[in-house]
């Protein structure tokens, strides 16, 4: 048998091997794609109910008597604030169902509109005091049970004793629906309001703003410090110095430290030692900064390193100082890489919740934070809190918040890709 025969004999086997390997690759890609698709479809599907909100159209009577206001020409805002709005929606409901007399039924009936309705009506009257003394058809926010029922999350076909919405309520809802009084609208409140214990009132604006403040602090601290550290280590630090080597090893190690550790560090240093407040975006930003710093230093160093020496030498050759070389030539050329690294580091920071658990960000904060020092929470933590709430409607809210978080992460990664494509220089 000569060499040719040996090769020929094994040829089939070798081709088969290659084919198999290709197949493995295709299978892995398909699998990971399927997982991703399943995850996205599941979350998006579950989130859909949260983007719409059910309202009940009611004729609200803003009479002086109902509001418990004395008749006069004008009212101060304080007077309007203190007027009585609690019964407005319930009275309108009672009028629609005049047969309902028992106290218990009345309670169930008025429970069909959200407890937040009274405050919404209050704000409406404060904005427009001319409403006082008039009657007006108003879309009143429905309670989460009615909302879930209307959206089909609560199934009407299961036996009554197992259903949260009882037969009596179902008949009322059917009547309201037949009268065209049940209306579905886009749930703008989800994007504009803060957290609430009532699913129909809860929104992510507070958490988004908290995330924004946190990210601003993180960016302001980690970008300049990270880039400066990387420039020093790449351009100025003495080579073959044990101390510098130690720093380099440690930066790489820091990037791999679990983020909860930074939370404990932040708790010990910022809160216990410096006495900074808990739950403040400033502290959160400073903790996440610790986590992000090595993630910015490493890609920055890599992209500074990838600037060809010829550029440096050329600049030095025409008489530029070292500073000029770095700031006029090296950094601008390395910038796409630096920005990409930073944006991906920030995207990771945006999705981080573990270190923030330690510094009091797992909190119920209903008011929208207005500054870096106000109590706040962040998006991932908001998701965590909602996922642990008993009300059924929070499941949809949880998924919707995840969708919002994913959109932001996609946008940031997309931006990183665009920057890289646009400014990338090839040598």
């Amino acid at each position: 048998m000569n060499n040719k025969d040996i090769v020929k004999a094994s040829l089939k086997k070798r081709y088969a091997k290659e084919k198999r390997f290709k197949l493995y690759g295709i299978v892995s890609i398909t699998l990971s794609f399927l997982f991703l698709a399943f995850l996205l479809a599941d979350i998006t599907g579950k989130s859909l109910p949260a983007f719409t909100q059910t309202y009940v159209k009611l004729e609200i009577d803003f009479s002086h008597k109902n509001l418990k206001l004395k008749e006069k020409a004008s009212y101060s805002e304080d007077e309007l604030f203190k007027a009585s709005y609690r019964t407005l929606a319930s009275k309108a409901l009672y009028q629609l169902f005049p047969d309902i007399k028992s106290r218990k039924d009345k309670k169930t009936l008025r429970g069909m509109v959200s407890v937040g309705a009274q405050y919404e009506l209050r704000d409406m009257v404060i904005d427009n005091p001319n409403l006082i003394g008039t009657k007006k058809e108003i879309l009143v926010l429905a309670d989460d049970d009615l909302d879930s029922f209307h959206k089909g999350i609560i199934d009407r076909s299961i036996p009554e004793e197992l259903r949260r919405v009882k037969d009596k309520q179902v008949s009322w809802i059917d009547k309201l629906e037949a009268d065209g009084r049940i209306v579905t609208r886009f749930n703008l409140r989800f994007l504009t309001s803060g957290d609430s214990r009532e699913p129909e009132l809860a929104g992510i604006w507070g958490a988004l703003k908290g995330s924004f403040y946190t990210m601003v602090i993180t960016l302001l601290l980690s970008f300049p410090i990270g880039v400066a550290a990387a420039v020093y280590l790449e351009e100025f630090a003495p080579k073959n110095n044990k101390f510098i080597d130690l720093i380099e090893v440690n930066i790489n190690n820091l990037a791999a430290v679990p983020s909860i550790v930074f939370g404990i560090l932040g708790l010990a240093i910022y809160i216990n030692l410096f006495g900074m407040p808990r739950s403040a975006p400033l502290v959160a930003g400073m903790v996440v900064f610790l986590m992000t710093l090595p993630k910015i230093i490493i890609p920055t160093r890599a992209s500074i390193k990838s600037v060809p020496p010829s550029i440096r030498e050329a600049a030095l050759g025409v008489g530029a100082s070292k500073m000029q070389v770095i700031f006029h030539h090296v950094l601008p050329l390395a910038m796409p890489g630096i920005l990409t690294g930073s944006i991906i580091g920030m995207a990771q920071a945006l999705g981080e919740s573990a270190p923030l658990l330690m510094i009091g960000m797992v909190a119920f904060v209903a008011d929208i934070p207005q500054s870096f020092m106000d109590p706040a929470t962040v998006l991932p933590v908001q998701i965590f809190i909602w996922s642990d709430s008993p009300e059924r409607a929070f499941i949809a809210l949880t998924s919707a918040a995840i969708v919002v978080l994913l959109i932001f992460l996609f946008l940031m990664n997309f931006l990183a890709i665009i920057l890289r494509k646009k400014f990338e220089t090839r040598w």
């Binding site: 601290l221 400066a228 407040p277 797992v362 909190a363 119920f364 996922s387 642990d388 709430s389």
Partner: protein, 352 residues
């Protein structure tokens, strides 16, 4: 240069933050503590904010123990004003408070929480569950007498099937999904459920007097041989898992059972169904009290604290038709409730 600006900005920021450290005045109430009380305290906070127009209190879910630590750290305004607890304050925690100058605190009993032992709606029926069978099913060690051994010897839990413990229980493998040791629900399961069943053995009851430490270890330790599965603190997760495994039991708070009555059913314990009334009267044995503790020294300096406390104990919230009850809170008996309201309104200090 952009870098110069960025560096300047961060220096300015750092100065700003050090400056703001020295200013400690705050205009919102700060609350920490139990994640079981969290859903109730947050509703009150929200209502308080809406009613008064004052900032809504910030409520952190730190767990009961974590909350006590923060609460008792000192009496300055940089410490929380209120801590929630799913059990009574311990003597050691009370002493820590005293030592750190938190001398004047008021205890407020919010109500009760029942702990449901539940399985999937169409799954087998566990209504013959008793505290004793709960103990035999979940404890790490059980008296050897249950397998014909001596009374005084303890053996590793030999039971694999519920029907081995009690022929009235379904013939399915013992598998219980429940919270991890950091959770107050787990404490209650151990102290009221498992220990409650343990006490039904006379020799164990006798041991409580002679060697209370060993008694506690034996009567409260949960088996770790895979029949009790720790699921993390997320009760929704337990419920979604139960819907896929009809023969598995889950342990979670009553408010979750209340919200998911179309998916899971709570088992009777000692013949008592888990209902609102049975928990309130104490007939359902696995229920625990919920408290919050207030720093009375903060009542003058923190704006709105008094109003917040009054809102919490008001009839609107805790009363027969209160909104807390809609959220699944089980109110305290009338007499105790009246005492609580009085304590809360008049800032009666707690003595231990």
């Amino acid at each position: 240069m952009i870098f110069k600006k960025a560096i300047l900005a961060s220096i300015a920021l750092a100065t700003l933050s050090t400056y703001s450290l020295s200013v400690n005045a705050r205009d919102n109430i700060e609350i920490v503590g139990s994640s079981t009380v969290f859903p109730f305290a947050t509703v009150v906070a929200e209502t308080f904010g809406n009613k008064t127009g004052m900032p809504t209190p910030k409520i952190e879910a730190t767990g009961t123990g974590g909350g006590m630590k923060l609460f008792c750290k000192g009496h300055g305004l940089d410490t929380p004003d209120v801590t929630n607890a799913s059990r009574r304050i311990k003597k050691s925690e009370f002493d820590l408070c005293q030592k750190n100058g938190v001398k004047n605190i008021t205890e407020v009993l919010v109500g009760f929480d029942g702990i449901a032992i539940a399985n999937e709606l169409n799954g087998p029926d566990f209504n013959s569950l008793t505290l004793r069978s709960l103990y035999l099913g979940l404890a790490a060690k059980v008296p050897a007498s249950v397998k014909g051994g001596s009374d005084l010897e303890m053996i590793n839990n030999p039971f694999k099937n519920w029907s081995e413990i009690d022929s009235k229980l379904p013939n399915v493998a013992i598998k219980v999904l429940g919270p991890p040791p950091t959770s107050g629900t787990r404490d209650a399961l151990q102290e009221l459920g498992i220990e409650g069943g343990c006490k039904t053995f006379p020799q164990m009851k006798a041991m409580k007097k002679t060697d209370s430490k060993l008694y506690k270890t034996l009567c409260r330790t949960v088996r770790e041989d895979g029949h009790y599965v720790e699921m993390g603190e997320n009760d929704n997760l337990i419920i979604s898992k139960l819907t896929n495994e009809p023969t598995t039991l889950g342990v979670f708070g009553f408010s979750f059972l209340d919200q998911n009555s179309d998916k899971v059913k709570g088992s009777n314990i000692d013949g008592n169904p888990i209902t609102f009334e049975n928990i309130a009267t104490g007939a359902y044995p696995v229920s625990r009290p919920l408290y919050f503790y207030v720093k009375n020294d903060h009542r003058d300096s923190i704006k709105g604290l008094n109003q917040f406390i009054n809102e919490f104990v008001s009839d609107d919230a805790m009363g027969e038709e209160g909104y807390l009850l809609d959220k699944g809170l089980i109110p305290a008996p009338e007499e105790e409730h009246a005492k609580t309201v009085n304590n809360a309104r008049n800032a009666v200090p707690l003595q231990l």
